[in-house]
């Protein structure tokens, strides 16, 4: 992005205290881990002030200075806490080098409007740090699961070997357990059988109904819509309780059919929402033109309307699939031991016999959801392009 504001070097009285404060904070962290917090604060502040002075006043080249700093911190970290220390030290070194020159050269100001007061600049960056922290909160739990699934021990936390990046601390044994253990394999097979069937039911009924709902004159449209969306709104435990009572009356409780029907009902709102959203931008004159040229309604549907709303239908199908694939409350009540799905097995695993195989399964599921997310995003863009809502 082009710079908004001309930048100039800042005085020592500005960048020195700021880097010293950052150093004090880092020193506090290092100091507490070594058992001497206050000494850490003092040393950190002093060290950082000195380093930033040397970097800006003594060393001629920015690049050389920053690389030297990274190397020094890497070695220092290794001396203090071994391999993990070296990683943390290297990151600190990189950050402080960048931070010093960011302040010293006035780069922080370049992309901000020139009329901002110093306080507004400070708020701008603090706000970004707050948002960054929230993003970290959102993503950390998912990231933490992945390395832990390669744990060589049956622990749910990082072992010292893992922190030393010792290859002996890592293994694929939980993945092997998932692939060989018959309990997990049965659960996987059930999930793979139930989810596509439920998806097929909700997509075929849901697409038809969505087309009906988007016609210009539909009596009781609001009431019908509210009823069709309700499986998404009614708490799962209530749906599960009702289905348990009702399905055991009609003999569907504990059968594959019962679970598939229940999951199809839960997936319908997602299909309805995505397909009606696609149909909002659908040009009705296309179907009229097709009819005008002699196509019967069925041909019109399959040759004209279907290809255009396909992206919406597929993303609705993916939503319905993931709803069924992730669902645990309803299957817990409507199914019996024979219909144990993957989430159900994870749920019992979490409640009773805790085994890190759950984390291996979780990692696989995260990989699947990344794939699904990518597909849905691509479809959404394609659909917008097809309907001419966004260029390119």
């Amino acid at each position: 992005m082009a710079a908004l504001t001309p930048i100039s070097r800042t005085p020592v009285s500005f960048y020195l205290p700021v880097t010293a404060a950052a150093g004090a904070f880092a020193g506090l962290l290092v100091g507490t881990s070594q058992g001497a917090p206050w000494a850490g604060v003092l040393y950190g502040a002093g060290l950082m002030a000195l380093i930033s002075l040397i970097l800006t006043r003594v060393l001629p080249s920015e690049k050389a200075g920053r690389w030297t700093l990274v190397a020094l911190f890497l070695i220092g970290g290794y001396a203090m806490a071994g391999f993990p220390g070296a990683v943390v030290g290297g990151l600190f070194g990189w950050f402080f080098g960048w931070f010093t020159f960011w302040l010293y050269e006035g780069r922080y100001r370049a992309r901000l409007a020139p009329y901002l007061t110093p306080f507004q600049v400070l708020w701008h960056f603090s706000f970004r740090v707050i948002c960054g922290a929230i993003f970290v909160f959102l993503i950390t739990p998912i990231l933490v699961v992945m390395p832990l699934s390669f744990n060589a021990e049956n622990f749910f936390t990082f072992t010292p070997e893992m922190l030393r990046f010792d290859p002996a601390g890592y293994s694929l044994k939980h993945y092997r357990d998932f692939l060989t253990n018959s309990v997990w394999q049965d659960a996987l097979r059930n999930s793979v059988m139930i989810a596509p069937a439920a998806t097929f039911l909700s997509v075929s009924f849901g697409t038809l109904a969505a087309i009906g709902l988007s016609q210009p004159h539909v009596p009781f449209r609001r009431a019908i819509m509210a009823m069709l969306i309700s499986p998404m709104i009614v708490p799962l435990i209530i749906s599960a309780a009702g289905m348990y009572f009702f399905y055991s009356r009609i003999g569907l409780q504990g059968t594959y059919l019962g679970v598939v029907l229940a999951h199809a009902a839960l997936g319908i709102p997602f299909v309805i929402i995505t397909v009606t959203a696609t149909l909002v931008g659908f040009d009705r004159s296309l179907t009229r033109a097709a009819a005008n040229m002699g196509a019967n309604p069925v041909t019109t549907f399959f040759r004209v309307q279907m290809p255009l709303i396909m992206p919406g239908v597929i993303s609705g199908a993916l939503f319905a699939f993931i709803t069924s694939f992730d669902e645990v409350v309803v299957v817990l009540f409507v199914g019996s031991a024979g219909q144990k799905t993957l989430p159900w097995q994870m749920f019992t695993g979490l409640r009773e016999q805790i085994s890190p195989t759950i984390l291996a399964v979780a990692t696989i599921l995260v990989a699947i959801s990344i794939v699904l997310l990518t597909v849905v995003e691509l479809l959404r863009r394609r659909s917008e392009r097809l309907r001419g809502m966004s260029p390119g």
Binding site: V234, L350, I370
Partner: protein, 424 residues
Amino acid sequence: MSDQTTSGPVLAADGTPLKRSLARALRMQKLRALALIAPLLLFVLITFIAPIADMLFRSVENQIVQDTLPQTVEALADWDPSASEVPDEEVFRALAADLKVAVKAKTHTRLGTRLNYEMTGASSLFRKSGRRVKKMDPEGDASLKEAFIGIDKKWGEPEIWNTILTYSPKYTNGYFLNAVDMQKGPDGPEARPENQQIYMILFGRTLFMSLVITGSCILLGYPVAWILANLPTRTANLLMILVLLPFWTSLLVRTSAWKVMLQQQGVINDVLVWLGLVGDDARLVMINNQFGTIVAMTHILLPFMILPMYSVMQTIQPTYLRAAKSLGATNWTAFWRVYFPQSVPGIGAGSILVFILSIGYYITPEIVGGNTGTFISNRIAYHISSSLNWGLAAALGAILLAVVLLLYYAYDKIVGIDNVKLGG
């Protein structure tokens, strides 16, 4: 055109008046739309609406007493419960006859279980009497009253007779009274003793924790939605992945991740101990309590708050804020008087959605909630699968459903069902 208006109604090509022809076309269109919707409507009615209706029916259904003890209920109609006396011989004869039939059909234990919800000890009383009643002769001369009292003294006290009489109608509000910590007394509903009141506390806790979770979602979601709406599109799309990935990740994965993070030997405690912020012997207890439930559920529901807020904030022109500032408003005034009011619909939509979802949550509180962090849904599940008091479970569910439907109605009025968006 002008000469037609003078010569009667306008005619369509086939000679029918245009008005009627139009009405027919419209009717055809409506019918076609309904025909397209009908299969799904029928499907949802059978697989979803009927089960809910069945649950509501179960919350008031109480035919078991009348079905199992028909003669006793009839004989008891003349008995005066306020006299606090045991009914006379005739009622005991009817009871013996009913129990003989019930023991053959093996339904007397189920009746005992049912009455045990209302009066502790009824279950064993019926089981014991069922074993001994076979030897009795309802037609004989011996006093059956004394025989029954001989089996168990409880038959000689008015309490059991009161219970049978109170629960003899086919439909009862007893489960609902139970669900709000009340019981049926001889003179109408009365409050349960203090030490038996648990459901109002649970409902209160569920509401309170849902509010806290909604509040923290607003607090955390607002800055993120703002920055996503105000960054250049490319960067915003990249950051959006960080919001959408948790949204797409399995609920069980996120719950197990929080279990891993919050445990006493978990990642957060390990990091804190490594940093020296807490001692190894004083690890924080962050799981199996309200704190754990609130943190995990805030994380799980946060995308549902961010996405509606983001779609509303995208429509707010950034020029308004600049205009306010150039007219002399401070940063805070510009935000609070100009930007914030325009973003309120997004907050409203997100809050109702998060509140509805959190109030009925089951999985996460069950795994990270322990004893103090569980919701009313966990109690419902307990009554269905462990205590088998289905009527009470149905009544609790009906109350929860009423709350959620009220919120759903509000959501429909404020946001509109059609405007629900999924993903970006």
